[in-house]
Each structure stands twice: as C-alpha cells, then as structure tokens.
C-alpha cells in the first residue's frame, strides 16, 4: 500500500536561502510523524509547501500514491490536508461554533443552517472527545481551548492528515498533556498527524517515527523506539549537545537581592501583591507560572521600569526601591528582557551600536565631554563579538538581519559587559534553537558558578527545573509557593493553576 503522503526531491529556495534541499518524506497512514529541527532548518517551510502556502521550486508530492498539484491551502484542504499554525487563526469575536463552520457553512437557501451546523459539530465532538462550549466567545477562551477550536475546524472540513506547527509553545504543561492525549486519540480514530517541534520530550511521548532536518536537508528518519534524546539532539545540531547541569557547589549564604513585601498597582498589566523572596550569591532562582501571571511585571519592578507602591528592594544590602534603571545597571543589575525585538535590542541599530547601548555616556567610551571614541568602540565591539561567539557578517550590520540566537547573544554580551551581581533573565531562550539555548544555559550556569545571583523567569518548565536551585511559582501576581526543582511536574502544574493548598507542604 502506498504511503498516505509521499514527498520526492522537494526543493524550495528564497532569495539567498535554500530552505529545503531535495527533501524526501514518507508519511504512513495512521501514524504520528514528528518533524524535528533547529530554527531555520526548514521544517515550517516544508510543511507550508505541502500545505501549498508556498510553491516548490522542484519536487513532487503524492497523496495515497497519486501525484497531486495543489495550488492553494483551499485545494490542500480539499485533498484532506489541514494545518494548525503556531499562531492561531481563529476569529476572536466569533462564537466557537461560528469559527468552526466559518467558510464551510451548511446552508439552506441563502440562510445559514444553524441546526445542521450544530448537529455536525456535536457529532464531531463526540467522535473525537474534544469537548467545548460551542456558544462561548472564542477570544475569551484560554489559548489551549482556542487551539481545540482550530483542530475542530480542520476535522469539520474532513481533514485526514493534520499538520501541527509547534503547537505546544503557547501552552501550559497541563494543556500540553491534554493536547498529547487528544492527538493520540485522533490517531486511534484513524487520523494521520505530522507534529513539528523542537521539544524532544513531546516527540517521545507522541510520535511513532521522527524525521530530522538540518539546514534545509533531511538528516534521516528513525523509528522512535530506536531513538534517544541525545541521538535526536545530535542529529538536529550536527554535534554532541550537552544538557545543562548545575554544578555541585552550593549557593552561598550571602543575599544578593532581597525583595520585601513588594506590591504594585495594576497599571499596564497585572498588579503584584506582597512579593517576598531573596536570591543568594551563586544561586539560580526560577520563577515559574502560566504566562500573564505577573512575570513581566516582576521583571520590570526589579529593573526599575515599574513603580513600587509598597515594600522594599535591596541589591547587595543597598536600597534600590526607587533607583532609576540607569542607577541599577551601574550597581550591577543585568537584564535579559523577555522580548528581544521590542526591549532587548534596537533592531535598526548595528551590532556595535546595540553593544554600546547603556555605556555611551561613560568613560572610556565617552571621550571628553560629548564625543564617542569610535576606534575604541570598534575594538570593544569586535572583542565582544569574538568572546560571545556572535555569528555576524560584521559589527556594522543591523542586528535585524541576525538570527534570534545571535540577537540574544548580542543582548547577553552587552549585559555582561559590566561586572554583574544579579542577572534578571526573562524567557532567555524563547524562540531559540537547541545550540543557542545550550549557549544561553551555559552562560547562566557560568554566572552561578562565579557566585552571581540569577533570576530565571521562563515559561519553559523543563528549563526552569534543569537550571534552578529553587523555584517560585507566580499566580495572579502572588508567589503562591516555592518548590524544589526536582518536585514532580504534577505539583508544579497544580501551583501554576492556582491550587496552593495541596502542594504547599
């Protein structure tokens, strides 16, 4: 029997980039097939080409042994191929059922056959076990449920091959588990699934076979039973990858940061309520929580971008509650902002200028009263680029053209240019690939080893648990509990969901 989907020699290039280089792929009917690779490896391009968002330069696509020429997503959908994008495409101001039938509404004359629509959706829900309140406003649902709407949308259109493009990046651990359960159930129901990810754990929980891409080429396809995490990571990166390991040394007794009863007002975001914690020298304190529970606000309070209403913050014993961002920077507070495009870098500035940001008005870079010492600045930039292994065509190109990993390295290089006593790292590896993530983790652990304090705010629980000495869980602007990193995931999940009673012990 021919495979459900067969791709032969698929090639797709963009100006200056060969995104897919003669890729062969076979997807068997009824399997869950993982597609792994670093950022820029060509996963999304490959899937978008199959889904006909792009037209291939070369190569052929067969469905059930018959060659197909799909010209648009509409024709892909007619062929039974559906795709759930990383960024959801539901209409927030429509009700759930309206979103599901949108574009494929059952009609009676010129009217919408409401009852017919409901009958069909409800049948679908029963079949697949996806439960949803069909009358809810879609935009008011949590992301996990909105994603469910998206899945139902595809099933409603009769898709038998479902493509998921990094579906778990926006979900909480609980939601990820639920999604995995649904996907397995869909597979039992005879659907075929392609699952794009770079999180190995999910791939192991879900997939039957995995295909790994690297720099636009296929590295290989293996059966998951024959694979190990190390092996897959190595296939993705092209060399051995070291998973982050905390050193043996214990955090010191000295307190580098003390936050005492800090509260803020809820302007432009969540209010924080009575935060109370310390960070010791040589310690990484993780801050876990579902996004939007005050993580951004906590970081802003620490670096001085948000006013404190009550309480006290001190850095190495010095009160910095009302210090300006600049004063805090000078006192050794470094910050990796969560959004490196909006806050971390000036995209249209060159690498040099981005490295300079925050040092421009201090000697020795400032020479005399006003002027910037350009030769010195250039030497400074070149040495930073070398030391932090920033891959860039030069120091005078805009940061915009660098990859996400290298942009983050620019941020790191700048923030660590000054003696640091505390680093506030917010989502430091978001959107980075395995190699860049490894680099950032290594830097954080280096800081810990050097006896600096680190606050690691991240939505990636695996990252937090691997790196942190202690983990605080934020919920609705409060620290709802503290856990040891080795506590089991279920406890984390409960705390992150706001159920403090069970896990408080």
């Amino acid at each position: 029997m021919p495979p459900l989907l067969e791709v032969r020699g698929l090639t797709k290039s963009f100006p200056g980039v060969l995104a897919n280089d003669h890729i062969d792929l076979e997807i068997e009917e009824g399997e869950i097939h993982g597609l792994l690779g670093e950022n820029g490896a060509g996963k999304s391009v490959l899937m978008s080409t199959i889904y006909s968002l792009y037209r291939p330069d070369e190569g052929r696509i067969f469905l059930r042994g018959r060659e197909v020429h799909m010209v648009s997503p509409a024709s892909a959908i007619r062929c039974g191929v559906g795709m759930v994008h990383q960024h959801l495409t539901v209409v927030p101001h429509l009700r759930v059922w309206e979103n599901i039938v949108l574009g494929e509404e059952p009609r009676r004359g010129v009217f919408l056959a409401r009852r017919e629509a409901f009958r069909r959706i409800e049948a679908l829900c029963r079949e697949t076990g996806l439960q949803l309140d069909l009358h809810a406003w879609t935009g008011e649902l949590p992301i996990g449920l909105q994603q469910r709407v998206e899945i139902l949308k595809m099933l409603y259109r009769g898709a038998s091959l479902l493509i998921f493009d990094e579906p778990t990046t926006v979900l909480t651990p609980q939601e990820v588990d639920q999604l995995i359960a649904y996907l397995l159930r869909l597979k039992e129901g005879g659907k075929t699934i392609i699952f794009i990810s770079h999180k190995l754990r999910e791939v192991f929980a879900l997939c039957d076979r995995v295909t790994v891409l690297r720099r636009g080429r296929k590295v290989g396809t293996i059966v998951i039973a024959d694979a190990s995490e190390e092996k897959l990571a190595e296939m993705m990166v092209g060399r051995k990858v070291f998973s982050p390991k905390r050193g043996e040394e214990k955090p010191k007794e000295t307190v580098v940061l003390a936050v005492e009863h800090v509260s803020t007002l809820p302007e432009r975001g969540k209010a924080l309520h009575g935060l109370n914690f310390v960070v010791h020298n040589g310690e990484i304190v993780g801050v876990a929580g579902v996004e939007g529970n005050g993580q951004t606000e906590l970081a802003e309070v620490l670096v001085g971008l948000r006013k404190v209403r009550q309480g006290k913050i001190s850095l190495r014993g010095e009160d910095i509650t009302f210090a300006s961002p600049k004063e805090r920077i000078k006192k050794g507070l470094a910050h990796i902002p969560e959004d490196r495009h909006r806050r971390g870098t000036v995209l249209d500035f060159t690498v040099t200028e981005n490295l300079l940001l925050g040092f421009e008005d201090e000697p020795p870079i400032r020479r005399g009263r006003w002027t910037i010492d350009l030769p010195l600045l250039r030497r400074f930039a070149l040495s930073r680029v070398g030391e932090f292994e920033i891959a860039t065509p030069g120091v005078d190109v805009p940061v915009r053209i660098l990859s996400g990993g290298n942009q983050q390295k620019v941020v790191l290089a700048r923030e660590l240019s000054r003696p640091v006593s505390l680093l506030v790292a917010c989502q430091p590896t978001r959107g980075l690939d395995v190699a860049a993530t490894e680099y950032v983790h290594r830097k954080l652990l280096d800081l810990r080893k050097e006896g600096k304090g680190v606050i690691l705010i991240s939505a990636d629980l695996d990252e937090i648990r691997a790196l942190s000495d202690r983990v605080l869980v934020l919920y609705e602007g409060r620290i709802i509990g503290e856990l040891a990193p080795q506590s089991d995931e279920y406890q984390f999940g409960l705390l992150m969901g706001g159920k403090s009673l069970v896990a408080q012990g």
């Binding site: 909006r342 806050r343 870098t345 000036v346 249209d348 500035f349 940001l357 870079i365």
Partner: protein, 348 residues
C-alpha cells in the same frame, strides 16, 4: 558571476534609486509639457541654464537651497528622536521674525556681535515655538503632528499680522524696517542674493551630523527614536530626550528663518516663505534622513526653484513645471519612505 548577481550588484550602487527617480521625474515632466503644447527640450535647457548656466545662476541655486537645507535638517533632528515635527514652517517663520526684531531694534552692538545675537535670537524664537507642542506632548500626550501643524498656522498669521500692523515700516509693502547693517550676513556673490547664510547652513549640516553620529547624546536620541522601549530599558530617559530633540529642531529651523532675514532680504517681508518648512520635510526624506543627504537633496530642490524661475522668464513655460518635477521626486522617493517609516514600523 551570474547575470542575477551582477544585476543585484548594479542595483546596490549607492543612490541609484534616487537618480533613477529623478530621471523619471524629469521625463514625466517633459511629457506633461509635450501634452500641454510646450517644447520640452527648450524648457529644460532654460531650466538648467537658469540653475547653473552662469555664476549668477549657480549663486541663485545655492540661495534657493539654503532655507530648504535648514528646514530639512530641522525635520531630520526631530525625526531621529521619533518626533514628527511637521510644523517646521512655523518655527522657521518665528525665527525669522524674532531675528528681524533683534536686527532692527538693537542699535548699540557692533557688527559680528549684533549679527550673532540676532541669529541666536532667531534660533531661540524657533526653539520657543517648538517648546509649546513639546510640552503638550510630554504633559498630555498630545500628538505633535496635530499641534505643530496648528502652531504653524498660528505663526504664519501672527507674523503676517505683526508686519501688516504694529511692526510695519512705512510704504506699500507689508514688511519690517530694514535690519541694522551690524546684523547683516555679508553677501558672497553679488549681485546674486547668495550670502554667508549658505555657509552657516553647511556648518549646521556638519554640526547635526556630528551631534547625531559622534556624540553620546545624539546616540541616545537615535536610540529613543528607533526603539524607545529598548532605550528606556538601558536607562535612557525618553521624554527629556524627545523634548531636547524637539527644541533643537525648532532651533535649527529658527536659525534658517533668521538666515533668510539677515542674509537675503535684510528685513521680514510678509509671505517671503513659499513654504520652505513644508519642503524641508520632503527634502529630508529624499536625503535619506541623513544630514549630508539633505545637502544634496536641498541642492536639487534649489536647482528646480532657481532654474524654474529663469525658465518662466525666458520661455513662457509656467513655473509649474518645476513644481511638477518636485512633486514627482517627492512621490517617487519621499512618499514611499515616509509610508514605510511611519506605518510599517508601527506594525512591528
């Protein structure tokens, strides 16, 4: 090297897009002439002869370029800080008026001192006119596009009122008394109007360049303009830097107005500005928002103005031809840039 690569290399020639756009603008301008029954060859010849056919013509071109260079630099300074100072015209006029008042009313100072005072007074007048919208923005978040434009009209009617009534010199023309000789910028190339104002403008182009690209304050201002969030994250205060850039912008515009009064006309004549401030915005964009680019762009616009006037005199082709070419240059170069800068950046 493949054909594609060599083509791409050719396209990366600096300022190619500008040059092509200007050529197309001239071509379309000629077509318009053809359709309206004027001989384009003759008209263009007259235009170029009027722009640099002789020493005097060239002097005229530089004279016309001078105020536009000032206003372009003024817009540029504010823009680099993320401020759309659309009201350069108003600051230019106020600078001109204050300089004229300082030039006529102060009688005791000797030559260079009086001149310097009058120039600085003009700059101060422009800066003061920018201060109010800057304050409105900082205090209430009033958008400067609206406020500066309204301030511009106020300036226009206010100066007009002053020279028509309280400050009017005797005679038929609505103008102030002539400025004292001790406050005049000397002419460079008599009998043309070209004066040292042009040199001052070039000096300001260099000053703006040095300020923005060589000093730490300029660096901070550019950071604020490109990404205020990242700038404040690194400890750069946004509001105060934007106000500073606003004032500097008004100052440069005011000096430009003062230069016209003290260098070219010797007094404030009602309606002497055909909209230099508005032109400056377009010139600034054509000059890629870089001070040196603005020098070349203002020369182009000066050429069109000076040449256009001669052309009208010699050939009966209306001045509108140079206006059409100017407009086309703006449509081809400045407008797309403006749209990209204003709208696409917001979307990111």
């Amino acid at each position: 090297m493949s054909l594609r690569d060599s083509w791409r290399k050719c396209l990366s020639f600096p300022f190619l897009s500008e040059i092509v756009a200007i050529l197309i603008a001239f071509l379309l301008g000629s077509l318009v002439l053809l359709f309206t029954g004027y001989p384009p060859g003759q008209a263009l010849r007259a235009l170029f002869r009027g722009a640099f056919g002789s020493r005097n013509a060239f002097g005229q071109t530089l004279t016309q370029a001078t105020p536009i260079l000032f206003t372009a630099l003024s817009f540029l300074v504010s823009f680099r800080a993320g401020i759309f100072n659309i009201g350069v015209e108003g600051q230019f006029l106020m600078g001109a008026l204050v300089a004229a008042l300082a030039g006529t009313s102060i009688k005791v100072l000797p030559f260079p001192v009086h001149l310097l005072c009058a120039l600085l007074a003009g700059g101060g007048g422009g800066a003061l006119w920018a201060l109010f919208p800057a304050w409105l923005k900082a205090r209430f978040g009033a958008h400067e596009v609206i406020t500066t434009m309204m301030m511009s009209y106020i300036a226009s009617y206010f100066t007009s009122y002053l020279v028509n009534y309280p400050c009017k010199a005797p005679g038929w023309v609505a103008q102030t008394h002539p400025v004292e000789r001790s406050a005049l910028l000397p002419k460079i190339l008599p009998p043309t109007q070209l004066s040292f104002t042009f040199v001052v403008a070039l000096a300001f182009a260099f000053f703006v360049f040095y300020f923005l690209f060589r000093t730490y304050l300029g660096f901070q201002i550019r950071a604020v303009g490109l990404n205020p969030e990242a700038a404040s994250n690194r400890g750069i205060p946004i509001a105060s830097h934007q106000i500073l850039a606003f004032l500097l912008s008004g100052f440069v515009a005011g000096i430009g107005g003062a230069g016209e009064v003290l260098g070219v006309h010797g007094k404030f004549v009602d309606g002497f500005s055909p909209g230099y401030g508005w032109d400056g915005i377009a010139v600034s964009l054509v000059g890629r928002l870089h001070p040196f680019g603005c020098v070349f762009a203002s020369l182009l616009f000066g050429l069109l103005r000076a040449g256009g006037m001669t052309m009208t005199r010699v050939t009966k082709v209306p001045l509108d031809l140079s206006l059409i070419i100017q407009a086309l240059v703006i449509v081809f170069i400045a407008a797309p840039r403006f749209i990209r800068l204003v709208f696409l950046r917001r979307k990111e």
